[in-house]
Symmetry: C2
Subunit: 352 residues, 2 copies
DNA sequence: ACAATGTTTCGAAACGATTCGAAACAATTT
DNA sequence: AAATTGTTTCGAATCGTTTCGAAACATTGT
């Protein structure tokens, strides 16, 4: 890298360094004569301004940090795309960090991000603790994404998880299911707690009791979905429908069902969360709640930019919380429960 | 963010700013008395050194850029994990960029990365052109990842794609297949070109002619895999086995096969590339070549660190090329071809 | 022709660290 | 007690920008 500085450009163009700066940033009028000279000099040297020097001076880096528990969870890459798309518009770059579901690592990452003077942080947090309170008090721009912390004022954007849980449940109830099970992820993570709430609410509204043995707490892993599926489908009276609170547990659940040679959806209906390429090519194609992952990322970044730009003042906006609707995509993993399927068939035969 | 500078720490500790720096970086002996005072002052102010100022002075940012065509392709998140793991060890952060398979965007990203004075770049390139030549000549630390450019000296790490294509093909040949098809991705991307080479070589070694209609050039999309699958399985004499050169086309291929009600592996064997959680839970569980994605990322980062550290001198190391072996994971989407299955069964009946 | 006004242009001081070489001090040898 | 050596400490310059205020210049109205 041939490294030229503004000084070199100035010298070559025969102007002062201040003028070059003014030209580049358009901060002051520069005569046509000098404009031409400077442009020429810059081209000749293939000069590119040093952003780190600039950052030091202006106190902004045009970089934000994004920390997620695990990029390897297909939900996050889509979010990242959204974030980048919104970031690119404003000339922002993003430093990506994996916290690996570990509060300690998360803290370390945040700390190095601050040292690097990022202008803000997007955080899918692992920690429920109010470890974030001090950040927010210091008015550091931060917006929470997907996972929302409890008990502190904050800005955040996530799927309307309660609504999504509710919709999924209503879909099953609408099909005639009563023995509906729910395989939750770690309830300390807001999405899973809220999806469970939505489930509970829908069940209550329909006056269906939630049986204890139809509630399983997993840990978001394939393995835990598998175990939950195995256990539940071996019950004396197994559920006729199961909701898996994330895509990994869904996968585990499907494996359990397949292994037990239980037919889906004939014997058990299943709905999961997240929609990826493979979910619709699965056998059977899976009914899921799709999260607006890309949009989630875009909105979060836009909110963060808002905070970054915010002079003082707009306190109201600072703690905005956005919840985007999930979308139920009905495919072939859900159907009427076994008992009703016959009724359904008879009816159709008679009716149509 | 209460922002304190080294000057504040120095003042509070009653020492010079140079001494604080010496203490922090351990560059010179600092007496116990002052050490204590400085540590105390730093703690009192919750001081964290400003990395951007530091970067400006020392000419290193401890940040690298990574540009991939699309994080949304599940292969890359795993690579990213590998990169981050290796980066973290040395205190490096990574700025992630999506080129979106677009040479223009890639160029823009590279350009902003340089402006930000990243210490090096990891690049899964879209462009086959020698647009990278000048970078390399300028000795800018760069290592290519997965996709390797042609015709210029470079450092790179990727899967041994030719070997992988060869292994996949040999697996099918070993099962007795002769009419083997290959659905390639964009051949301008080295992995696909090389996988195809491996396929050709294996076929040649086995003295099996590659039929034209059994070679399809896709574009890495699900759609193209689907189309290729449809077309080939509708041939008068369809192939008895198909290799899909990436995970997306594999998915499309499976859809085509399902739609045509062709049974896999009974009527057609299929092997794909990349191994994710869903591949083994597919119906049938898919035989694939797994790429050592995490390792790929780790090694690439380590090579990059090597280049960054390299004083002048070690020219040999500069253009090192690493090829890591893929691993064939035989599952249930491959079996003996239809004709032989009967023979197989009869034999078994008689023999066992 | 001169003052008043509005543009361009520039010199110099930051931003917050590192680093060089000299100054200050202590310990040792003569 | 002076000279020598080695260790701490510090002042000041520097990295490559931005930005403030003043200087230089051109333009206009009187």
């Amino acid at each position: 890298m041939a490294k030229y500085t503004m000084r070199d450009v100035a010298r070559l163009a025969g102007v002062s360094i201040a003028t070059v700066s003014a030209y580049i940033n358009g901060t002051a009028g520069v005569s046509e004569r000098l404009t031409a000279k400077i442009a020429e000099a810059m081209a000749a040297l293939d000069y590119h301004p040093d952003q780190v020097a600039r950052s030091l001076k202006v106190g902004r880096t045009q970089v934000i940090g994004m920390v997620v528990p695990d990029v390897t969870n297909a939900f996050f890459p889509e979010v990242i795309r959204g974030v980048e798309d919104a970031a690119a518009v404003e000339g922002y770059s993003v430093i990506l960090c994996n916290s690996n579901e570990d509060a300690e690592q998360e803290k370390r990452h945040l700390s190095t991000l601050f040292s690097r003077r990022v202008d803000g942080v997007l955080l899918a947090c692992t920690d429920t603790a109010a470890a974030y309170g001090s950040l927010i008090q210091r008015r550091f721009p931060i917006v929470f994404l997907d996972r929302i912390p409890q008990g502190i004022p904050h800005a955040g954007v996530c799927t309307d998880n309660e609504g999504a849980g509710h919709v999924a449940t209503r879909h099953l109830i609408g099909l005639g299911h009563k023995r509906i099970a729910f395989v939750a992820g770690n309830l300390r993570h807001s999405p899973h707690a809220e999806r469970l709430n939505g489930f509970r609410k829908a069940m209550q509204e329909a006056n269906i009791a939630v049986r204890d043995e139809c509630l399983r707490m997993g840990d978001q892993s394939i393995e835990s979905g598998y175990k939950a599926g195995l256990e539940m489908m071996r019950l004396a009276v197994p559920p006729t429908a199961i909701i898996a609170s994330n895509n990994r547990m869904l996968l585990g659940l499907m494996r359990a069902v397949n292994e037990l040679k239980i037919r889906c959806p004939q014997q058990v209906s299943i709905v999961g969360f997240d929609d990826f390429a493979w979910t619709q090519h699965f056998t059977p194609p899976l009914t899921v709640i799709a999260q607006p992952a890309h949009e989630l990322g875009r909105k979060a970044m836009e909110m963060l930019l808002g905070q970054i730009r915010a002079g003082e003042g707009n306190e109201t906006k600072r703690f905005e919380n956005l919840r985007l609707a999930g979308e139920l995509r009905v495919r072939e993993s859900t159907a009427r429960p076994p008992a009703l399927q016959l009724v359904g068939k008879t009816r159709r035969k008679g009716g149509d």
